[in-house]
Symmetry: C2
Subunit: 147 residues, 2 copies
DNA sequence: CTCAGTGCAAAGTCTTTGCACGATT
DNA sequence: AATCGTGCAAAGACTTTGCACTGAG
C-alpha cells in the first residue's frame, strides 16, 4: 500500500499548501493512525487509538481533522445508523457499498457494476440526475449466523 | 386509501390492546396527522402540523408516539443524512428505496426487483444473511436540473 | 380507582465553536 | 512575527427521560 500512501500524501499536501494549512503533531498523528487502521472508524474510536500514542490530543482536534480530510476529498463520512459518523478512505478507490453485520458490527465492502447500472436506469426513469448514492445491506455475517 | 386506513387501524389497535396501551387525544391526533401527510416527516415537522390543530401537544409526546408506531411496525425510521430521523409508512407496502433531490429535498420512492435480487446474490457471496437494506440515490430532480 | 400518558424541563449523545494559549511557517 | 491550530469548556442540535399531574379504561 505504499502507492496508496503516496497518493494520499500528495493530495493532502496539495490541499494544505493551497490553503495555507499547517502540519502539526496532532494532524500527522491522527491522519497516520486513521489510514493505518484503514477506515470505518468513528471519531471516538479514532480518538481512542490516537490517545494510545499521545495523550495530549483532544477530541475536538480529531473532529476538526476528520472534517478537513473530508473536505479535501481524502475520506468520506458515512452513517451506518449507530448515531455516529464513520469515516472511510475515499481517495484512490472505486465507489463501493457496504454489508454490515448487525451481530458483531463487521463492515464488508463490495462493488457491483450491474447494480450501479440499474440505479442509473431507475434514476433516469424518474428524471433524476444522480450525483451519489448509498447502499447498505444489514444482516448477519457467517460467524454470527451460528450464534 | 380507506383500505390502507383499515389495515393501519387494525394493526395499531391490536398492538395497543395486546399491551394495554391507551388511546389518547394526543396519540390520535399525531397518528392521524402523520398518515394524512403520508410520511417522510421529521418529528419537528410533524409536531408543527400537529400544533396547527392543537397547541397543547408537546414534542416529547410526538417522539414517544412515533417510537411507539415504529415498534408496532406501522412506520419505519429513516435517516437521510440531514441529522434528524424521518418516519415513513411501513404497513401494507412493499419494500422500496429512495431518490432524494439535493436541490429541493424532494423524496421519490421506487422499487426494483432486479436490484433486490442482485443485492441478495452479493450478500450470499459474502456469507451474509440479509435482514434489511437501505438504498438512497442522491441527485437533482427534473426541476432542479434547470437551476 | 389504577396505571398509563403527558408536559415540562433536565439530562444525554454526538458534534461544533469561542477563546486564550501554543506552535508552524 | 503573523497566523493558523489546539485544548478546554460551553453551546448546539436532536432525542430521551424523571417526575408530578392528568386522564383513559
Amino acid at each position: 500500500m505504499s502507492a496508496g500512501r503516496e497518493v494520499r500524501d500528495a493530495v493532502l499536501s496539495g490541499y494544505m499548501a493551497e490553503r495555507g494549512l499547517k502540519t502539526t503533531r496532532q494532524r500527522t498523528l491522527i491522519i497516520d493512525t486513521f489510514f493505518e487502521v484503514g477506515g470505518h472508524l468513528s471519531v471516538e474510536e479514532l480518538w481512542g487509538r490516537v490517545r494510545g500514542r499521545d495523550t495530549r490530543v483532544s477530541v475536538a482536534t480529531v473532529y476538526r481533522t476528520m472534517k478537513l480530510l473530508a473536505e479535501s476529498g481524502l475520506v468520506h463520512a458515512q452513517n451506518f445508523g449507530d448515531g455516529q459518523a464513520r469515516y472511510e478512505v475515499a481517495v484512490g478507490r472505486e465507489h463501493h457499498d457496504h454489508l454490515i453485520c448487525t451481530g458483531c458490527g463487521a463492515i464488508v465492502e463490495f462493488e457491483n457494476d450491474r447494480i450501479e447500472a440499474l440505479q442509473e436506469a431507475v434514476a433516469r426513469r424518474h428524471g433524476f440526475q444522480v450525483r451519489s448514492h448509498k447502499m447498505e445491506l444489514y444482516g448477519l455475517c457467517r460467524n454470527c449466523q451460528r450464534g
